[in-house]
C-alpha cells in the first residue's frame, strides 16, 4: 500500500486557506515552541513569515493600520477641535520619525507606531482624568483607563527599546526576511 507523501504540519501550505488570524496564531505558536526548545520551530517561523499567503497582504497593510490608528487617536486627542487634531497628528509624525530613523524595516515602523499610538492614548486618558467628574464612579473609571494606558505605553516603549538595543549590538536574523529588512512598504 503506497503512502501519500505529506508536508510537515508546521510548513505553510501553498494554497490559500485559513485566515490572517490563524496565520498570526501559527507564528505565535511557533514562537512559543521555539522558546520551549524545539529548534525546528525557528525554521518554520521563517517559512511562515516569508511564504504564508495570508500574512503577505496583511504585512503590506500594517502601515495602513498604523496610519488609521494614529488618525483615530489624533481625532480622540483633539476632542472635536480640528486644529488640536492636526497638532496631534504632527506631533505623532515627528515622534515616529524620531523613533524609526532613516531606513526603518516594517518591524521598526510597527513598533514605533505602537509607541506613538500608546502615547496618544495616554495623553487623552490623562486629559480625561484631569477633568472634573460629576460622580466618584466616573472619576474611578477614568483613573482605571489612565492606569491601563500607562501600562500599554510602558510596554510599547519597553519593546521598542529592547529591539533598538539588540540592533545596536548588530543582531539580525540569519535569513533575510522582508518584514525585518529596511524600507519595506
Amino acid at each position: 500500500m503506497g503512502k501519500k507523501k505529506q508536508a510537515p504540519p508546521d510548513a505553510p501550505k501553498k494554497k490559500r486557506h485559513g485566515s490572517v488570524e490563524s496565520a498570526r496564531e501559527m507564528v505565535k505558536l511557533l514562537t512559543v515552541r521555539a522558546n520551549e526548545g524545539h529548534p525546528e520551530a525557528v525554521g518554520s517561523i521563517e517559512k511562515w513569515l516569508e511564504a504564508f499567503p495570508e500574512l503577505k497582504p496583511e504585512c503590506r497593510a500594517l502601515d495602513e493600520l498604523a496610519e488609521k490608528a494614529v488618525a483615530a487617536w489624533a481625532a480622540s486627542v483633539g476632542f472635536g477641535d480640528k486644529l488640536a487634531e492636526q497638532a496631534a497628528r504632527d506631533e505623532a509624525s515627528k515622534l515616529k520619525q524620531e523613533l524609526t530613523g532613516d531606513s526603518p524595516s516594517l518591524l521598526d515602523r510597527v513598533l514605533a507606531s505602537a509607541v506613538v499610538v500608546a502615547h496618544m492614548a495616554h495623553t487623552r486618558a490623562a486629559v480625561m482624568a484631569a477633568q472634573k467628574a460629576d460622580h466618584p464612579g466616573i472619576r474611578e473609571a477614568r483613573e482605571r483607563v489612565l492606569s491601563a494606558a500607562q501600562k500599554r505605553l510602558a510596554a510599547a516603549v519597553k519593546a521598542h527599546r529592547l529591539l533598538a538595543h539588540k540592533k545596536e549590538k548588530r543582531m539580525r536574523p540569519k535569513a533575510k526576511l522582508k518584514v525585518f529588512e529596511p524600507s519595506v512598504a
Binding site: R24, V27, K28, T31, A34, N35, A41, V42, I45, E46, L49, L62, L65, A66, K68, A69, A72, W73, A75, S76, L106, L107, V110, L111, S113, A114, V117, A118, A121, R124, M128, D134, H135, G137, I138, A141, R142, V145, R152, A155, A156, A159, L162, L163, K166, M171, R172, P173, K174, A175, L177, V179, F180
Partner: protein, 103 residues
C-alpha cells in the same frame, strides 16, 4: 429588597430593604405606607444615579472604541513580529524577559 407581596396581605405589598451588617444581610421592614414609599423612592433615586454614571462611563468608552480596537490590533502585531525577530536571533523568553542563552 423591594415590595414584598404576601398571600393574604395588601395587593401593593410591604417594602423591605436589604441592609448589609457585620452579622450578615438583614431585611429591614418599612411597611406599606409613607415610610415604605419614601424608602422605595430613595432606592429608585440611587438606581437612576447608578444608571446615569454607567451610561456616562459607557459613552466615554464608546468615544475611543474604534481607536482602542486599532491600537490593540497594532500592539498584537508589534508583539508578534518582535517575538519572531527575537526568536530568530537566538533569544528565548524566560521569566518575563527575552534573553540570549550563553554557549
Amino acid at each position: 429588597m423591594g415590595w414584598d407581596r404576601k398571600l393574604k396581605g395588601p395587593a401593593g405589598g410591604y417594602f423591605y430593604l436589604s441592609v448589609r451588617t457585620p452579622a450578615g444581610v438583614k431585611k429591614v421592614y418599612f411597611g406599606r405606607r409613607t415610610a415604605g414609599h419614601l424608602a422605595a423612592a430613595a432606592v429608585e433615586q440611587r438606581r437612576q444615579a447608578r444608571l446615569r454614571v454607567a451610561s456616562a462611563i459607557e459613552s466615554e468608552k464608546a468615544a475611543t472604541a474604534d481607536a482602542d480596537r486599532l491600537a490593540d490590533e497594532l500592539a498584537v502585531w508589534a508583539d508578534l513580529l518582535s517575538a519572531a525577530w527575537l526568536t530568530l536571533t537566538g533569544h528565548a523568553y524566560h521569566r518575563g524577559e527575552w534573553r540570549k542563552p550563553h554557549g
